[in-house]
Structure formats: C-alpha cells, structure tokens
C-alpha cells in the first residue's frame, strides 16, 4: 500500500526499514507502530511475522489505518488460507488485485471477503499447509502476538479444494487471554480475562445463525465503585463481563432477553464479540517461587507450579522464565526425578533462567530447583535483584471466564442440511507473573 497517491518519496520502503530496525540506535527499544520521518507518517502492524505498512502525509486517524492494515491482512489470509511470506510471494498478483479493490486513492472501499469475491478473479495458489512446520498440538493457537490468534483453519475461503467438493462447516472459537499478577505472598494483585469469540464460516448460502451464551451472563459492573471490590463470590457462578463489543453483522435484538446473538456470518474469519472481565476467577496455575542465599557467592531458586484445573484437561507448551541477578555466572538445574518432556536453560546474555514443560495435566505439581553461582557478593536483598517469574501456556478446552456457547443454531435450508459445527475453547497466558 506504499505510495498509493504518489505523494510519498520513492525510497520510503528503505527509510521505513532502516528506522524500524535501528530505532534509537543501539538501544534494543522497539519502534512504535507510528512514526514520522521528514513529514511522512509510517504506520505499521505486524501480522504473522509480516509487516504491513501504510504511509501518509496527512494527519489521519491512526486507529483507522491500523484497523485497515489488520483487515487487509485478514482478507489476504481468507483468500490464501495461510498468511506467510511464501504464500504472499506465490500470490502477489492476487494481492495486488485485492489491494486495488480495497483502497482507491487512499480511501478504503470494499474490505469484506464476502463482497470482494465478486470483484476479484485471480485464483489463489494454495500453499500446502501440511508442509508448514508445526510446534506441537497447540501450534494452531500459537502466534506470539497479543492479537487473538487465528483459528486452526488454514483453508482458503475462496479456493476450491482440488478433488473435494466444498464442505459446509463453521468454526466458533472462544479464545481467552488471561493476565494475572501474584504478589510475593501469593495474593492476586490484578487479574483480567480478554476474550474473543472468533468465527470462520464456510457455510454456503449465508444462513442465519443463532449463538446462545450463558443465560446468567451480565455486562457492566457497578459504575462508581471500584471495579476491583469483588462482590463476594459473585452470586454463584454467574459470569459478569466488564464490557464487550460486537461485530457489525451481529444483531442484539434478543441479547437482553435470552443472551443470544443472531447474525448472518460473512465469509471469512472475524470476531463476533470481544469481551473483558475483571471479575475474580480461579487462575489455572499457582506459582510459588523463592530465591535464598546459600552460602557465599551462592543462591538457590525453587519454582513450584501447580495446575489448578480438572485432570481431564491438559495444559501444554508451558514456558517459565525468571531473571536472575546480573552477576550470576553459572546455574545448575535439578529437575524432579522422572521428569519427562521438561527442559531447562540459563540464558547467559540476558541473565534469565528458562524452564519449559511440554504438558501439565490438571492437578499435577512440578518443581524446579536451581543453584546459582555469583561472581560477586550480593548486597542485601536478593528478591530485588531477581524475578519476577513469568509464565506462558496454552490450555485447550478450558476457559477461565466460564463463558459458554450454549448452542449454535443454523437456520435449516432442508431436512438433510446439517453442516459441521465446531465449538472450541482455548486459554492462553497474556501476562502471567508472580513476584518474588
């Protein structure tokens, strides 16, 4: 989308890359998403490891441009099935064609995959998704950004699968990112669930859909009171969201009555609803960490993790990190006996110890011991020199907020019409931190 109107200098792509790469010279500080070089504003968003950049000389709405860049990325993904460097390369003519219809002279035009279908003619060259390296079973939800990750579906919305006729199906994913900060004494200082209900429809003929949520769902906490003075036990398991927003296509006519959303899902992937909850919830993992002096120039770290959820659920790709004092020179780890699928590492350059576990079954507890060796005497308080412990994880078929999809109803076209529906839950760590 560079230089759509010819008002931006030719070398702007180079200027952009230089600026982003060497923001603030040697400091490893990340460039902000919006910056100005010689009167040209560069606005960029990272999606799936790719940079989407817009340039303008006008004082535009940054949110509009960033939303548009995200939308462009999604439209391309809808078309190509998979969004990565390889698929872009193979389909650049198609991408040009899409951009041409999406923006005209800097003004956004059609941006829904649905509408674009009638104006775009290049057939996507589908990249074989099975060849894309995966990182274990949860890779489908693992995209390192905060953005709610895409669904597992890597099927193009428009391409016809060779040999197979198009299958009628719809995917509904309830994806929750949780943030919890534990105090040094194990209290929860802050907690938040940021959730999204993501939908990807391959239904032919755009039928009506009804999506029913918990009947006892309520929205908006008492304004005026601090949102953190939890009502004690919150009326027996009801879900109270702080706030939520909805996709354009959603009709809320019955929402107040019976908590159902009705919509005609457009083709492609979109968020039906985003919500935010600060109501107290049970954190899936408890972290216990401590650091103690163990003789001159030595200290011991003990990290315990307990999975506080049902044993029918398994958390996976767990990664625990903890910064240790700057003058740490050596770390020796001691895993519990019989540990499988666990690994440890001491990152010398940024003085962090890392502990990864392939999976944790609900109810299980795991412990790591590490002996640190220092190059100098520590002054006083070790807890000010080390920590906090942070944790990353993915827990499929688990959601912290207890928000449920009670049913997903698809208006029937005929008696035999019975499309596949997939409703899936997944919870991920956003910022999951325990202080020492």
């Amino acid at each position: 989308m560079v230089a759509d109107r010819g008002v931006v200098p030719k070398g702007s792509a180079e200027i952009f890359f230089r600026k982003v790469k060497f923001w603030k010279g040697d400091e490893a500080e990340e460039a902000p998403p919006v910056f100005n070089v010689d009167g040209v504003n560069y606005i960029h968003a990272k999606v799936a490891g790719l940079m989407f950049v817009a340039t303008t000389r006008a004082n535009v709405s940054p949110s509009l441009v960033l939303e548009l860049l995200q939308r462009i990325a999604r439209v391309i993904k809808d078309y190509l099935g998979v969004l990565n460097e390889d698929s872009l390369r193979k389909n650049f003519v198609l991408v040009y064609e899409l951009l041409d219809e999406v923006i005209d002279f800097g003004y956004p035009q059609m941006t829904s995959t649905e509408v674009l279908k009638s104006y775009v003619f290049n057939e996507p060259i589908v990249v074989d998704s099975s060849r894309i390296p995966t990182l274990g079973p949860a890779a489908m939800f693992m995209q390192s950004t905060k953005r709610m990750p895409g669904t597992a579906v890597t099927k193009s919305v428009v391409a016809n699968e060779p040999g197979a006729r198009k299958r009628d199906e719809i995917f509904v994913d309830i994806i929750e990112k949780i943030s919890v900060t534990f105090s040094s004494s194990g209290y929860i200082l802050t907690s938040e669930v940021d959730g999204t209900i993501q939908m990807k429809s391959y239904l032919s003929g755009n039928p009506d859909i009804r999506l029913a949520l918990n009947e006892d769902l309520s929205i908006g906490r008492n304004v005026g009171n601090s949102m953190y003075d939890y009502r004690s036990s919150a009326g027996g398991g009801s879900v109270i969201l702080d706030d939520c927003n909805f996709h354009e296509s959603v009709h809320l006519d019955n929402f107040d009555l019976d908590r159902t959303l009705s919509l005609v899902p457009p083709d492609g992937e979109f968020s039906v609803m985003n919500y935010r909850m600060t109501q107290e919830f049970k954190p899936p993992f408890r972290i216990n960490a401590l650091i103690e002096e163990a003789g001159p120039l030595k200290a011991e770290v003990i990290i315990k993790i307990r999975a506080d959820f049902s044993s029918s659920v398994t958390g996976n790709t767990i990664a625990v990190q903890m910064p240790v004092p700057k003058y740490t020179t050596r770390v020796s780890f001691e895993l519990e006996s019989g540990a499988i699928g666990q690994a440890t590492d001491f990152k010398e350059t940024n003085k962090k110890l890392e502990w990864s576990l392939n999976k944790i079954v609900g109810g299980a507890e795991h412990t790591l011991r590490a002996k640190l060796t220092f190059s100098q005497e520590s002054h006083g308080n070790l807890t000010k020199e080390a920590g906090p412990v942070s944790m990353n994880f993915t827990i499929p078929m688990y959601n912290a907020s207890k928000l449920q999809v009670r049913y997903l109803q698809i208006a029937k076209k005929s008696k035999t019409y019975n499309p596949y529906r997939w409703v899936r839950y997944v919870t991920q760590a956003n910022s999951y931190v325990a202080r020492l």
Binding site: E30, F105, T181, D194
Partner: protein, 842 residues
C-alpha cells in the same frame, strides 16, 4: 505491505541480474501470442503477464514491453485485463507518450457491457496521472457518475478527485462538484455516497478560501440537513465510511441541547463496535458536542471508559497502543475521573516500552489520596525491571507523585530504599529526585540526609546524579559531618570530571560549605576556585571568577548571594504547555494524539485533514491557537502587543512615534538597509535614525566590529518590492491555497537575531523595513512560524507568499515560497534571506 519478492522464473539465460534478456524474451513471447485465439492462449498470456508484473515488482524496468502489453490487452479475460491495467498505470506517468496508446482501449472498455470492466477501465484511466491526457477523462467520468452500476459510480466519484489532483481547473470547470453533491444526497448505494463525501471534502478543503461560493459549499456540508441525512443512514455504510461521517458530525454545531442528546442517542450503539476507529470517531463526536455542558461532558468520560479499555485489551499491540494514547490524553485532561481505574494502567510483563511509558505517565497523573499507596507500591516493583529505561521512568514517576504532595511520608521512605539497591542508575535517578523533593519539602532533610550521607560518591557516575549529590553536600553541609571532606576528595578529581554541570555544582557547593563551616572548608574552596579559574569551559571559568571577585569585594555580600535564606519551591513547571495539550485535544482521533503534538508541528500545510486549512491562519495569528478566526488587518493597532498581525507602513510608524518604549525595535544597521533596498520609505529612514538612541545598538555595533555572529550577506538583489503592498488575510489564504510551492530553502540565521525573536513582533517590524509584510505568526519557542507576503514594485505586480519556520534554539530557518511569478522566486528568496540575516538583537 512489504513488497512481495517473487521467485524469479528460471530461464535458460545465464545472465540473471539485469533482466534485459528476459524482457526481450517476454516481448517476443507476447508478440507471438498477440493475435492468437487458440484455446489456452489466455492461460499462456496470464503466465507471461505474471512474469512481467513480477519483474515490475522487484524493480526491473519492463516498460520496454509497453506496446506488446497493450496489443495483448484486447481480451475478454478479466484477470488479464486487470494485470494489464496494473502495468499501464505503473508506467504511464514516466512514459506519457506510451500512455496515449492506452487511452483508446481504456475508453472503449469504459463502454463495455460488463459494469465491472467499465469500473476497472475508468479507475485505471483516472490513475494514469498524465497531465496532458486529462481531456480524455472528462467524458468517461461524466458518463461514469451516471452509470447504472453502483460500482462504476463509486469509482467515478473518486475519479473526480483524481482528476482534480491532476488538473484542478479541468475538474472545477466541468460540472463535477454539483454532480457529486447530487449523488451524495440521492444515491441509494452507501459506498457511492461515502466516496462523493470524501471527494467533496478533499476538494473543497484544498480550494479553501478560493471563492466565497466554495466556503458556502463547505458550510453546507456541515448543515443540519446533510449531517442528519448521513447520520440517520449510518448503519448502511461500511465501518470506514462510518468513520468519515462521524468525523463530519464532530464538526457539526447543533442549535440546542436537544439536538445534542438526539445525536448522542442515535450514536450510542457505535460505542460497542469492534472497530476501534469507529469507536474513537464516535467518542470524538460525544466529546466535542458536550464541550459546553460540563456535567454531560463528564458523563461522557464515564461512559467511554469501558469501551476504550476493552479496545486496549482486545486489539493487536499496535491498535491497543493507538487507543491507549487517546486514553492517555483523556487521563491527562481529567485525571480525577480515572482515579479509581488505576489498576488498568499497571504495566504488564511483555508490553513494549512505548506502551509502558504511557502507562507510567497515566499512573503518575491519577495518583491521589485514595490510591497513592497502591500506585507507588506497584511502581516500586518496576524499579527492579530488566528494562533500564522503564526502571528510570518508574523512579521519576514515584518522585513526581511525591511532588504532587500526596502522602509524602511513605514515598520518601520508598525513595530512600531505592538508594539501598546499589544499582548505579537507580541511585543516580533517585538522588536527582531527593534533591527536588528537598527543594519542595525542606522538612524532610533530616531523614534524607541521613541516607544520602551514606552513599559513596564513587558509586555515582552519572552527571545528573552526581550534581544532585554535590548540591546536597553544599546545601546541607551542617547536617553532613563529612561534607567538607567529601567535597575535597571530589575536587581532587576535578580534571577527570567530564561534565561541566558537575564542576559548576562543585564550585557552588564549595562556596556554600565555606560559609557554613569556614575553617574546615577553606581549603576545599581554595582548590575549587583555583581549578575553576583554570578551567577551559567558559561557564565554569566565569562562575569561578565571579565567586572570586565577589569574595574579594565583600565576604558578607558573597554569603548573601550564595547562601540566601531558602524558600521552598511550590510548583515545578510542566514540560508541556496547556495550550499545546488543548490543541492536541482539538485534533482527537488523529496522529497528533500519538505524537503528543499538534499537526502544524509535523505536517505540511497541504496535508492536514479536511476543513483544517482555513482555520490555520487564524489560529496562528494568535500564537496559542486557541481561538480560531482571522482578525482582519484593519483592526490592528500598532500599540497593541497582543495582536501579531502585520499592517501597513503608516500605522507602523505612527506606533513607533507614539510608543517607542513599548516595543522592541530591531537594531538596524543603516548601511545594510540602504545597500539592499534603495526604496526605503522616509518612515523607515526615520526608524533607522531612531535606533542609535537605544542602548542595545551599541552592543550590536560592537559585535559587528568584532566580527561576531555576522553572517555573510549575499550581494544586493535586483528585485525591487512594493513597500506598501496590501493583501488581506482572506486573499492571502486563497492565493496560498492556489499556488504551489516554487522554492524551499533552509539556512542558518544570525544566532543573536534568533534571540531577538523571543518577541515575534521584532521580526514583523524588521521585515517590514524590507518591504516584506507579516500576515500571521505563531508557534511556541523554539519553533516559530510566520507567514509573510510581498509584492513586486508596482500596483498590480505579482505577489510572493512565504511560510517561514524558525527554530530559535538551533538558529535555523526554513522558507517555503509561493510566487505568482515563479521565475522571480529565486531573486526574491535571496532578498528575503538577506533581510532575515540582517536581523540582530534589539
């Protein structure tokens, strides 16, 4: 989007890099296929077109294949056509002759049966951007606007805007604007309506001030009829067009409060939209509508909190940053309304530094009696942060909260604990804060000094921290037993001390200490003065000399100067003026909020948002930018220092005669004026004659004698200006809008002259002496902005318009000249520059 780098097709040719042989090869293949109607020939053409475009993408020049591409374009295959259009639009501008070749087939396609082909062809035709082909655009555009297909009308509506950018006169002379207006109010298709609105807004704002009719049209866009028509249909539009309409609505001025509530009720559900741009645009409407209704305005703040917070946590990091910046702006405007939401602004692990910095500022702003304890506790956690810059910012935040005087007691303890962490940068930052704290709350000196006294000065390396420590040593010599001896040891390393700031503080501390504990500190003072006098740094040397002479003169006077009874500082100045903050708020939902500065500081004039151009001159004319109307030149009175508008010579001289003490006349060099401009008015001569009576003149003459700071003055230019040129602000705006910049220059100005610019009037008068009139000025030092005009000698001669940006701290100037006769812009620029360079302090 990152340019896709396609795999270069493998060819038999071994010479890959230049791509020349490939291009020749492709040409040949295209020729062979040109007339072919054999089955499958479209597929082979597609393959070759793809190759051509992939070359184009990686920057290989394939314009040589232009005629072959055009030959192959006679096809019914839409994919082929689209690739061909893409190719043509890319090369038309640099090959206008070849572009002519395409007109024929594009025009033909504009009449195709398929509306899609018509739309595509029209879009490409308008995107050729070749000035001498505009005549071919008018008729297809006219037809396009009346097309039965909304797709074509939509393309045509933007096409009009494209035409305007190639040739404004062609666009305005045809009846396009009226057609767009009619379509906007009548077309059933929402996107057509939106595109008409976009085009009209942009064209009318670029035509700002050109004709009275245009400004009436602009106003008509903001009429109740239009705004209500669009708002009532808002749900028919896609989210981007909704933003456009909301932006328009935010400029609408309702007639009564009922209207305000109607609009807000109508838009209430837009706050639940998942698109952050729609929500922010809605919030802008709400905030602006309720500006004059304090209670409702405050309710709006309460209402928008939750949606904003949801957007911050649900979007991509980039989107959430853009929303958070707006939240930051609101928090800074009304911190009290957010005081219970502080936990939302806690930093999260893994957040980028630019987000954490915003959050720290917000936490600092909303700290009050009820939440200070929690906030400070949280901030203290960040001090141990791995990221040093966040750690520093956190310490500063704690200090700032302390200076806001809530619960200082607990905070001082926290700050002092930082000193025990024994991290260099933590200690340095903390010392600076402790110093500021003591200046405001001297009562804490005992607690602080006890801890500070334990810090070994060897552990403090950063100049700011070191200077703070030394300041405390001097100030509290009586409370710190070792003070004279610590100073002594620091003085021993005088020569290794790099920062002049530290050496200056050493001098002062030695003096202070001397007056408090003379016998012990005498030695230190002697060492300090000797070292200071020998110092190569001017300021250090001067201060040492000053102290030395002061002591020689009278020791008790010296004591009164160096150690006066201290008064606690009550308020520390804010870094950013409230005018700037208000200005940024006026530009809600734009980049200004992210940069935290108003648009005029980072955007050139032509590229401000629609409807902002006309306001600019007005806002500049008052410097602060808070009032938005242009003051007519006639209302100016020379004696009034608050009005910055230029005026005619006559009033000027009257002002001088009556009131010469009230204004700061620039110190003219008579010889300069006569050299440069033989047309100096008698009044101006009077002015330069009057100058020698002013004491400042002597110094500037002295400077000139010494050859200090007098830049080389270019040879006298030949252009002569009309000293009595008159141009009223609206005409100025019109001309400014019409003309294009003919010359842009950057140069240094006399640094002493830059000092004189503390009072912008000084420059107005000075330039007037050179027959260049100022029409508006503004900005905040060090960045000043002026608009000037001048006229070539003669009643009806062409005008010159100048936008002049001056940075007083770097003594740099940038001028953008728009000339009615561009051939004269060069000599005029020389003249302007020499006039500006002659500016010296008054």
């Amino acid at each position: 989007m990152a340019p896709p780098v396609p795999n270069l097709p493998k060819t038999s040719s071994p010479s890959q890099p230049s791509g020349k042989s490939e291009v020749a090869d492709l040409k040949l293949q295209l020729r062979q296929l040109a007339g072919s109607i054999a089955p499958g020939s479209d597929d082979s053409r597609r393959e070759i077109f793809k190759k051509v475009i992939s070359f184009m993408t990686v920057g290989i020049d394939v314009s040589a294949a232009f005629s072959e591409m055009v030959m192959c374009s006679a096809t019914s295959d839409v994919v082929l056509k689209k690739m061909c259009y893409l190719y043509v639009c890319n090369y038309a501008r640099s090959n206008p002759d070849l572009a002519l070749l395409t007109i024929n087939f594009l025009q033909k396609d504009c009449r195709d049966d398929d509306p899609m082909i018509r739309g595509l062809a029209l879009r490409s035709l308008c995107s050729l951007r070749v000035a001498n082909l505009v005549e071919y655009l008018v008729s297809p555009l006219t037809t396009g606007l009346k097309d039965s297909s909304p797709y074509v009308r939509m393309v045509a509506a933007i096409g009009v805007l494209k035409l305007y950018h190639i040739s404004p006169s062609t666009c305005l002379d045809s009846d396009f604007l009226a057609m767009l207006k009619a379509l906007m109010l009548n077309d059933p298709d929402a996107q057509v309506v939106a595109n008409c609105l976009s085009s009209l807004q942009e064209i009318w704002s670029l035509e700002a001030g050109n004709l009275e009719a245009v400004s009436r049209e602009r106003e008509a866009l903001l009429s109740k009829q239009v705004v209500y028509y669009l708002l009532n249909r808002i749900k028919e539009f896609n989210e981007w067009a909704q933003c456009l309409i909301l932006e328009l609505a935010s400029k609408y001025i309702p007639s009564d409060s009922n209207e305000i509530f109607d609009i807000m009720n109508l838009l209430e559900d837009r706050l639940q939209h998942a698109n952050s741009a729609v929500v922010l645009a809605t919030i802008k409407v709400f905030l602006y509508l309720t500006m004059s209704m304090t209670d409702v305005h405050q309710q709006v703040y309460e209402r928008i909190k939750a949606p904003l917070l949801t957007l911050v946590s649900s979007g991509s990091p980039e989107q959430s940053y853009a929303v958070l910046s707006h939240l930051h702006l609101l928090v800074m405007r009304a911190p009290i309304l957010f005081s219970s939401d502080y936990k939302h602004f806690y930093c999260q692990y893994s957040e980028p530094v630019y987000v954490q910095k915003l959050k720290l500022e917000m936490l600092t702003a909303i700290a009050n009696e009820s939440n200070t304890y929690e906030i400070v506790t949280e901030l203290c956690e960040y001090v141990a942060n791995v990221d040093i810059s966040i750690s520093r910012e956190s310490i500063r935040a704690v200090g700032k909260i302390a200076l806001q005087q809530y619960d200082v007691n607990a905070i001082v303890d926290r700050l002092l604990q930082f000193l025990e962490m024994e991290k260099d940068y933590v200690t340095a930052e903390t010392l600076v804060l402790v110093k500021d704290l003591l200046r405001k709350y001297p009562q804490w000196s005992h607690d602080c000094i006890a801890v500070v006294g334990n810090i070994s000065s060897k552990n403090v390396q950063e100049p700011k921290g070191k200077a703070a420590l030394i300041w405390m040593l001097g100030e509290y010599s009586n409370d710190m037993l070792d003070a004279p001896y610590i100073l002594e040891s620091l003085l021993e390393n005088w020569n290794e001390e790099q920062a002049p700031e530290v050496r200056l503080h050493l001098l002062t501390a030695a003096m202070k200490c001397f007056f408090k504990r003379p016998p012990e500190a005498q030695k230190a003072l002697g060492v300090a003065l000797a070292a200071g006098l020998a110092d190569s740094h001017q300021d250090v040397h001067d201060r040492a000399l000053f102290y030395y002479r002061l002591l020689q003169h009278d020791v008790s006077v010296a004591e009164r100067v160096v150690n006066p009874p201290k008064q606690a500082v009550s308020v520390f100045t804010d870094a950013q003026s409230s005018e700037i903050k208000d200005h940024v708020f006026d530009e809600f939902n734009t980049l200004s909020v992210l940069y935290q500065k108003p648009a005029y500081m980072f955007t050139d004039k032509e590229h401000r948002g629609p409807f902002e151009l006309a306001e600019e001159l007005g806002s500049l004319s008052l410097g602060t930018g808070s009032v938005e109307h242009v003051i007519p030149a006639q209302s100016y009175e020379a004696s009034d220092n608050d009005l910055l508008l230029g005026t005619s010579e006559k009033e000027e001289s009257r002002g001088l005669g009556n009131n010469d003490s009230a204004y700061s006349a620039p110190g003219y060099d008579t010889s300069l004026i006569s050299l440069e401009d033989k047309q100096v008015q008698p009044e101006s001569n009077f002015l330069s004659l009057a100058v020698p009576t002013m004491p400042s003149h002597t110094s500037s003459v002295l400077d000139d004698l010494l050859g200090l700071g007098t830049p080389i003055i270019p040879p006298p230019p030949t252009l002569k200006l009309n000293p009595k040129a008159v141009l009223d602000p609206s005409n100025f705006q019109r001309k400014w809008g019409q003309l294009t910049t003919s010359l842009t220059e950057e140069f240094s100005i006399n640094p002493q002259g830059a000092v004189a610019l503390k009072v912008p009037q000084a420059l107005h008068r000075h330039m007037q002496g050179h027959s260049i009139q100022c029409i508006a000025s503004g900005g905040q030092p060090p960045s000043l902005k002026f608009f000037f005009f001048a006229q070539k000698e003669g009643e009806t001669s062409p005008f010159f318009l100048v936008e002049c940006l001056i940075n007083t701290s770097s003594a740099k100037a940038q001028i953008n000249i728009k000339a009615e006769d561009p051939t004269l812009s060069e000599p005029f620029s020389t003249l302007f520059r020499s006039a500006l360079l002659a500016l010296s302090p008054s």
